[in-house]
Amino acid sequence: MTYTTIAEDTRALHHPKTWVGKYVWSQDHKVIAVQYSLTAIGVGLVALVLSGLMRLQLGFPGMIEFITPQAYYQFVTMHGMIMVIYLLTALLLGGFGNYMIPLMVGARDMVFPYVNMLSYWVYLLSVIVLMASFFVPGGPTGAGWTLYPPQAITEGTPGASWGIILMLASLGIFIVAFTMGGLNYVTTVLQARTKGMTLMRMPCTVWGIFVATILGLLAFPALLVAAVMMMLDRVIGTSFFMPSIISMGEPLAHSGGSPILFQHLFWFFGHPEVYIVALPAFGIVSDLISTHARKNIFGYRMMVWAIIIIGVLSFFVWAHHMYVSGMNPYFGFFFATSTLIIAVPTAIKVYNWVLTLWQGDIHLRTPMLFAIGFIFTFIHGGLTGLFLGNVSVDVPLSDTYFVVGHFHMVMGVSPILVVFGAIYHWYPKITGRMWNATLGQLHFWITFLGTYVIYLPMHYLGLLGVPRRYYEMGETEFVPASAQWANEAITIAALTVGVAQLIFFYNMISSYFRGPKADPNPWGATSLEWQTPKTPPEHGNWGPTLPTVYRWAYDYSVPGAAQDFIPQNVPPDGAARDRDM
């Protein structure tokens, strides 16, 4: 039992008096979480609009005049980078991590509330710097979200003058923000759990976010040094990543650097990044499934260990992004093996989600629909990952639309479905109001089916051989005319899905003002965040005394218990069997 008095100490809480202190310069983890989430969703919308523009170009080449090749590549780059870093990482860790960790482990706030506040404001700065790059001469960088040198900083790539500098600066700032937040999340989980909340009683959500944060703290430094080195190459003419090359017919002054070094640094960050996004989603979806199926998560200990093992292994697979990069070809054997090994704990997670449903009492409410949708898309994306991880099979597929289809299924659609499910799930707690269920369902169906229509055909275009990052295919002999129909259909589906998100925003905003008042625990959930004295929880979360935890987070449908759930803070008695997990 790791109970410390930090959690109990209310003196540290700084109670603000003014509106500005409460909602702007706030040190309350819940307000910071909302600030993080709204900002992330705001930039996410920019990325969504960019994807719509890209799809218009691909479906109807040349229809929109301002989408030149330059613009297309700028859109691809900004879209990818925003989605991965500024939306998903910020939303899942800065948003859900901030909101959920203290509430779920029974703390009053993060351990360092002031640093937590700074984290948000620095994140906002990174977003502003990134957005500023749309307005500088030459526009944002069009180097692809992977920013591979030498191309990222040489002429011939859009935004090589200013855009790339702002991108690198923004990434550096983001990493500072992430580190401040991340240290907080880890420390809070380790030090501020309430009495009785052992590590093996924490909900999977906390486990996912906790391990993801550790991954982030270990992986982002690699990106930081890569960004700093590239910045030096670009600004003062060092040659970390720059061999002696010509650019636009003229020799450059660089010599001796290694482009592949950058790729190693980038993917040493970039692969764990996939799990930084995936693990919180895994954790959250486990809790959604368990709660709405009224059944304990199947194999909790396995689930926790799988998260940890995946986290550790994710640092040993990065070069599977580099099979055809020209690195030492013998690495292929090692990285293919390690990559396919990671599939085992990942598969176990999938089995356990489905086995949790088995013999459950499944309430198909909107959050649960998103969770089930996630299982489907994640199975799809996980399996196509086995193609790309298996070195020689990757050779024909790498850098084709198969890859685009794969990573959108596994780290685009799947986490986004979880994010939506999670928002529907926790919205009543966060706002104290209930959303409209019909609109929620409508939003689910369009998003779930629409994304499958978008991404399934992409895999087949990739199998055919259509390369990614192509402004247009033009006349290419091996590509039949029918491929363009696929592109048109994909574009129509993408625009539909994009516009359908308005249903979500309408539902969230109108329910905030006019939704019916929510029950404090509408789903009958066991974890602590649903047991707060007030809904929405106040600053300090728990009123005068902290909750004490007596059981794991999954006492659903316990035989003999009066209700089909027993909250974590209910002491054992004759009726409810105590399980000390």
Partner: protein
């Protein structure tokens, strides 16, 4: 309920799509059948898992959907089951990984008798160099690149004088002979990709990479650049034409050696 049916339909729809899709691999034109085999095995294993897991998912949701009076069971874990599942998963992984690794081993082991040709990428075009009589590609360096030496050959390296230089983005290769394609970039990353050959590899400035293959049918195949290389990435195309041996030799003999281009350049500038 509805979601269970829809997931079932999605599984069926995916299978139908898979079998009816007009977008499938191009007919192969190289010896890399092993890669296709590994891909096919992966398709079958993954396809089976996809169908089985999702149908089980759909069935579970259907069968255990909430109804009045229905209650969930309480079963925290079942270690025996988890161990069985782990074992079968690991087995499936091995079945896919083994052919994948074997194919990779072949992919990176160039046969001794492979003919050498160099493909050079430069924003946004392809050119090629054959080693000439001596079978050796002469030394090159960025600093030698100039209007009359686009390949950057070192004028003082005797091995380079008989190198045959092919500009214009089209290269011919003889059928049924293994060829090692040495890859070099003058500026940024590119990737030599011919879908019908299956093989692909990045060109990395500052270093030399390679792929090898044996063309197995004649024809003209398009080279696409498959590593993003700036705004012209999507128009960086070239052609590989697979010929019978004699036609290939005839084609090759039309191109000048580096030595010849120097003589021409020297004559034009009036130097001795």
């Amino acid at each position: 309920m509805r979601i269970a049916i829809v997931i079932g339909l999605l599984v069926i729809g995916s299978l139908v799509f898979h079998f009816l899709s007009p977008w499938r691999q191009t007919p192969i034109a190289s010896n890399w059948g092993e890669i296709d085999n590994a891909l096919t095995i992966t398709f079958w294993v993954c396809g089976a898992v996809f169908v089985a897991l999702n149908l089980f998912l759909a069935y579970s949701v259907f069968r255990f959907r909430h109804r009045e009076g229905h209650k969930a069971t309480y079963e925290p874990e079942n270690m025996a089951l988890e161990r069985r599942l782990t074992f079968w998963t690991a087995l499936g992984i091995v079945v896919m990984l083994a052919p994948g690794l074997l194919a990779w081993n072949k992919y990176i082991s160039v046969p001794q008798d492979a003919r050498v040709v160099e493909a050079i990428g430069q924003q946004w075009q392809w050119s090629f160099r054959f080693p000439g009589e001596d079978g050796v590609l002469g030394a090159v360096a960025t600093k030698h690149i100039g209007p009359d030496n686009p390949f950057g050959l070192n004028p003082d390296d005797p091995w380079g004088h008989d190198d045959i230089l092919v500009e214009g983005g089209e290269v011919h290769l003889p059928i049924d002979q293994p060829v090692k394609i040495v890859l070099r970039s003058n500026d940024v990353l590119h990737n030599f990709y011919v879908p019908q050959f299956r093989a692909k590899m990045d060109l990395v400035p500052g270093m030399i990479t390679y792929i090898w293959l044996t063309p197995i049918r004649t024809g003209t195949f398009e080279i696409l650049c498959a590593e993003y290389c700036g705004v012209g990435h999507y128009v960086m195309r070239g052609y590989v034409v697979i010929d019978e041996e004699a036609a290939f030799e005839a084609w090759l003999s039309e191109f000048p050696t580096y030595g010849q281009t120097r003589v021409i350049a020297a004559n034009e500038s009036g130097a001795p």
